[in-house]
Symmetry: C2
Subunit: 739 residues, 2 copies
């Protein structure tokens, strides 16, 4: 009995077990932790377990074909491995059972300071070698040393601490990590840090108040959730501000009833897109420098899945790394293209079907159940297409893994691209279809319908159909998006517990488990374990949450950018709608991260990564769409003349060149402008090199280093009288002599 | 009398004057020089003046409105200034009179070792701070110090020595230079080093023998003439090799009588151009690294002409630099565009006229003097157009100066671009005209001619006209180019001396100057001054030569590349002709530099600079020309149908996108390939930082630096027994209990 409960009852402080958790080496520093611990619970009970950095969810099958013993032994073996790994790298841990479900354990991980310090130092040095934290060099030489390799963990931000612990957990063994990952360990279900409720409350509170998010707020997020998340919010905020341009112009056009699709508006939008993207790149650089993550992508984290054909010595670092011939990689990438194309093809067919259905129902159909059938397409968009997209995603994921990417970053890049294709199709395909096929050739559909004896009332096919679809996407789409993103999880959160409870109740009634239940009940009497259960409840809640997926949020924004840049000439209010949506989105995402997802692992990143490229692609496309629409739907154009397609293409040709030209001008003129981050970087490098030089050459050479303009003054003195050597007047007069 | 001759008679070694030339500080090292001197003449006479690094030609007016005294005093004053400058920076000098022409002096400059050493050290450190000589870090740490800041001038190459002396001469005063330049000093006519005849002989000898120039040969050139020249030859050689592709394919097509203009050939050529350019970029990087000039363009040499509005502190180095607002610069650049456009417009009109004349005479005219008139256009191309181009060049030079460029590099870049426009027009305009205007619409000219009663025999306008013009440009053009480049100067060299002599003879006869002449005659008796005169003759010869202009050579090659990439579908043998021409060109340029131009100042450069961009532009254009020709002149095309223009444009649209796509693929797949220079650079940086780190942290931290994989082994021992804390089997079985 006593044995059995060991994992349930808390470790009493002072008991051998408790002290045992802290190695003598680290014991002193651990006291620090308890004092400096910012974690929510500060009692001396179980929950005062210094601080829980990560929770590993350890799930193993309790039923199956095999006999229970085999299952059990398997699980034991795995848990043993896990524990060994943890203790090898010197992490403290405690195991708790998930009381609600069988075959699930929580391993709470804490990193003692000594281990943290060590890893931190290693990281700092690696960063330095990679040239990250460049602007640190701008400090005075004296501070510099302290600054660069300062391992005072009290100054660490939450995000930094968690990131370092994560490194310890996930790095491969030869890198000195525990090599724990869901790929390697079959029963490790997931690995995530716990939310800091205090911070979250404060965050949501402040943001719900202030209408404008400034860099300080972003830095706060960065300190708590890491750069990757911070960059998303920075991007969103920056984009929000830039949107005001199109919003204002667009509303003016609508108010004063200029005809939309004007060439001028198209041109302005084109320039806006180009300038915005270039400016964001700069902003990104600046932030990356401020946040000390410049070049951090250079630290290419080997994918644990990447094995390579053979091991070779890395030419740069001289370490052994798995190697695979470039040709093989390239060929694989090439070969996976058809696969992606296939997926995209099927997806577009489905999107097409839904769209045609919608078109038919909205435009032609007048038969029975009109009212009800009218909403079927929307359902299709909400339920059917997303599922298809998910299928596509998992398919391309397989392909992407097959491509054998060396590093996480490259894997992520190619995966993002593939995902983007799907979203691109879903978002724009139908609009392209309407604009370029349905409106020009739509009228030919009529006869067939009559033949098929389908009762229909045909409204003339015209430009408004396109506008209607666009509005449908922007307004309805965004509302639906918001609903699925925010309301759904909210409802789920409200419901799930109830459901759970009901299930619980049932269990209570069936006698088999009652005994253990009662034990718990009575145990809940004493304070400690009430805290325990309180803490566990918190864990339960967070375990049930899904992981935060940053892709979807980025995709949403970039797709929206597409609507603005490509179609806002069709409906000038696009910008305005988006600005409103994003203002809410910004808060919504904050809430989402805090309440409806697990706390994300604080990865580092240099910026928004591949999304820039995608936005540039969209801008290029916008030059095509806007030109073609501006021509096609111009009052003076007879859309049904045989020449129309050709002239449309001419318009496209023209505007594409215009786009390239504009981009050229914008870039070159921006490069001419001084760039803060460049200056800081070069300054830092210069100082660093000077320091290095001083140490290399010794102090006596400082004259050279301090300023390269220390002219050759010494020789001057020895030479300056040599003027008298030539009697100048004589020389000159001689030169005249000849005459 | 004795006074007068001081500047003519040599300084006798051992005489006070001679010793005087060398400051006591440097005297020891100077003996070194004499021994290590590689200069041609090694006698103890005047010409054994250790070695003449540079010659300043000092020209001043001897006749004019002002009285002779004023002129004389002016000249004196200027010479005084010059001499002061020289002696301030500690350069030795000697003045000789140009005996042939009055009012001309030669100032022979020699840099004593002490000064050289000092400047060299400064340069080395500056280079290091700019990250030049990156691959030097790859040496072992011990050598590194010696290596990076090695100021042993015996190891200096000719080019390096001359460059450093040049720096001393031209750098501004606050940079510690003499600030001598033709802009600043009115009477300083030119400044150039003397040829090393031995080297030149060897060079031409070897190259005339071997058919293939390898990297060693290039490195030799680099060591003697500096990187800028070396890069030109590297480019030429590399281009020559790549040309073999089009040459072979082209000849095959001609031999086996495939019809030219085939789409396949066009496609192959497009891919070839793209790949070639990308590969050259790599080659360039590699060479830049090998030659230690990577990033050397970062050392932005302030233009002496650049004054700026006010002085500000440079944010990076903290030095005072002239500043001008970016907007002003941008606006000026923008404003100078119309000026360039105007120039280009007039030039194209002239080119157009010459071309139309040619067209008329070749195609239609059958009147009197047919034979003679037939050659007038060629004369136009040889004499008239070049002069016009020169006028244009000087016009854009004015504009370029007005643009206020901060650095030499940027000035050069924009100037090159402007020059390129002119050459582009001259080279291709008529071909475009034939291809896109004359052939499609040419037949409409006929009636007008008949109206004007001009006797003409009209051959049907067809595709062959274009081919004819192309062949005319490539064959005739290149022959003429060769003639003007090589034969003309050769002839001049042969003639000029004779002319001079004749003039000389005349002088002899007129009594006034006879006296001084005779003196010289009798002086020539003794050996020393015979050497003197020998040396002076050498100087005279070189002073008469023009400066080497690298632009023209680059332009020639890039324009030729344009013919190959844009038009080789029109005449498949283009590649072959060019390969032959270039093989000769390569040798011809060598001879030109040695014999027909002054020795160029050995500037550094990272590559061919702006020409890459121009070649890329040409490749883009080639996608347009080849597509349009492939469509226009396809047998199946009826060139006179009204649809032709439109479909041509469609073809262009298509192939432009194809081009962009190809470039994308090529670039990305090349980036995937490992790149030697990248590896070397990153290796170097890593090593450098490690060294820095060792010095910063002290030896005790090496464990971290040497390998980042020194895992947290220390803690392992202290922790590894913590496994026993949990009885795993117990835990698992508990997890099962619930069932």
């Amino acid at each position: 009995m006593e044995e059995k409960n060991k994992d349930q009852h808390p470790i009493k402080p002072g008991s051998t077990e408790f002290t045992h958790l802290f190695p003598p080496s680290g014991s002193s520093s651990d006291n620090e932790i308890i004092t400096t611990s910012t974690s929510v619970e500060k009692q001396t009970s179980f929950v005062s377990f210094p601080r829980v950095d990560y929770v590993i969810v350890f799930k193993f099958p309790t039923k199956g074909k095999e006999k229970r013993e085999t299952l059990q032994s398997k699980a034991q073996q795995q848990l043993d491995i896990l524990i060994n790994k943890l203790s090898r790298v010197g992490l403290n841990y405690q195991i708790q059972r998930d009381k609600r479900t069988q075959g699930t354990l929580f391993v709470f991980i804490t990193c003692p300071n000594i281990v943290l310090k060590k890893e931190l130092k290693r990281e700092r040095i690696r960063d330095f070698l990679l040239g990250i934290r460049a602007n640190e060099y701008n400090k005075e030489d004296e501070d510099e040393k302290k600054d660069l390799f300062d391992t005072n963990i009290d100054l660490l931000t939450d995000a930094e601490r968690l990131r370092i612990v994560y490194e310890i957990l996930t790095e491969s063994e030869q890198e000195g990590g525990a090599n724990i990952s869901t790929e390697v360990d079959p029963f490790v279900d997931s690995l995530f840090p716990l939310h800091n409720d205090e911070f979250n409350k404060k965050w949501i509170h402040t943001w719900s108040k202030k209408s404008f998010i400034n860099d300080e707020d972003l830095t706060q997020i960065r300190n708590h959730f890491g750069e990757k998340i911070a960059f998303y919010f920075a991007f969103l905020q920056n984009y929000l501000l830039w949107l005001s341009g199109p919003a204002i112009i667009g509303s003016c056009i609508t108010l004063f009833g200029f005809k939309s699709l004007s060439i001028w508006f198209s041109l302005i939008m084109l320039i806006w897109s180009v300038v915005y993207i270039e400016m964001w790149k700069r902003k990104e650089q600046t932030l990356a420098l401020k946040w000390n993550v410049r070049h951090c992508s250079k630290h290419e984290k080997q994918r644990l899945e990447f094995k390579g054909d053979r091991m070779v010595m890395d030419e740069i670092t001289g370490e052994q790394v798995p190697f695979i011939s470039t040709w093989k990689i390239l060929s694989r990438r090439a070969m996976s293209l058809p696969g992606v194309a296939l997926g995209a093809f099927f997806l577009s067919i489905i999107v097409g079907c839904v769209f045609v259905l919608q078109l038919f129902l909205h435009e032609y159909y007048t038969g029975p159940f009109r009212q009800i059938l009218h909403y079927t397409p929307t359902i299709g968009y909400v339920l059917f297409i997303p599922t298809m997209t998910n299928i596509y995603s998992s398919w391309v994921k397989i392909l992407n893994n097959w491509e054998m990417h060396k590093t996480e970053s490259s894997w992520e890049y190619f995966y993002t691209q593939k995902i983007f294709i799907a979203n691109f199709l879903v978002a724009y395909l139908s609009l392209f279809f309407i604009g370029w096929i349905y409106i020009p050739f739509g009228d030919h559909v009529l006869p067939y319908l009559t033949e098929l004896h389908i009762s229909h009332s045909h409204t003339k096919v015209d430009f408004n159909r396109l506008r209607g679809q666009l509005i449908y996407f922007i307004v309805t789409g965004q509302i639906i998006g918001f609903a699925t993103e925010m309301l759904l999880p909210y409802v789920m959160n409200r419901l799930l517990p109830k459901v759970k409870k009901v299930a619980h109740e049932k269990k209570k009634n069936d006698p088999s488990s009652s005994s253990s239940e009662e034990e718990e009940e009575e145990k809940d009497k004493n304070l400690q374990s009430r805290n325990t259960t309180k803490f566990l409840k918190k864990v339960y809640r967070q375990v049930d949450l899904p992981e935060y997926n940053i892709y979807t949020d980025y995709v949403e924004m970039v797709i929206q950018f597409g609507y603005v840049s490509m179609f806002s000439t069709v409906w000038p209010l696009t910008g305005l709608c988006c600005i409103i949506n994003n203002w809410i989105e910004l808060r919504g995402d904050a809430i989402k991260i805090c309440k409806y997802t697990r706390r994300p692992i604080p990865y580092r990143s240099e910026g928004v990564g591949p999304w820039i490229g995608n936005m540039e692609t969209l801008t290029w496309l916008s030059s095509i769409t806007m030109a073609s629409f501006a021509y096609l739907f111009h009052p003076s154009t007879n859309i049904h003349s045989p020449y129309t397609p050709i002239f449309t293409i001419l318009a496209i040709l023209l505007s594409e060149h215009l786009y390239v030209f504009i981009r050229l001008i914008v870039r070159s003129s921006l490069n001419a402008l001084p760039n803060w981050s460049d200056i800081m970087i070069r300054k830092g490098e210069l100082r660093m090199k000077k320091v290095w030089l001083q140490r290399l050459l010794g102090r006596n050479n400082e004259e050279f280093i301090s300023s390269s303009s220390s002219s050759t003054t010494t020789t001057t003195t020895s030479m300056n009288h040599s003027t008298s050597f030539y009697d100048v007047s004589q020389v000159i007069s001689d030169a005249f002599k000849q005459e």
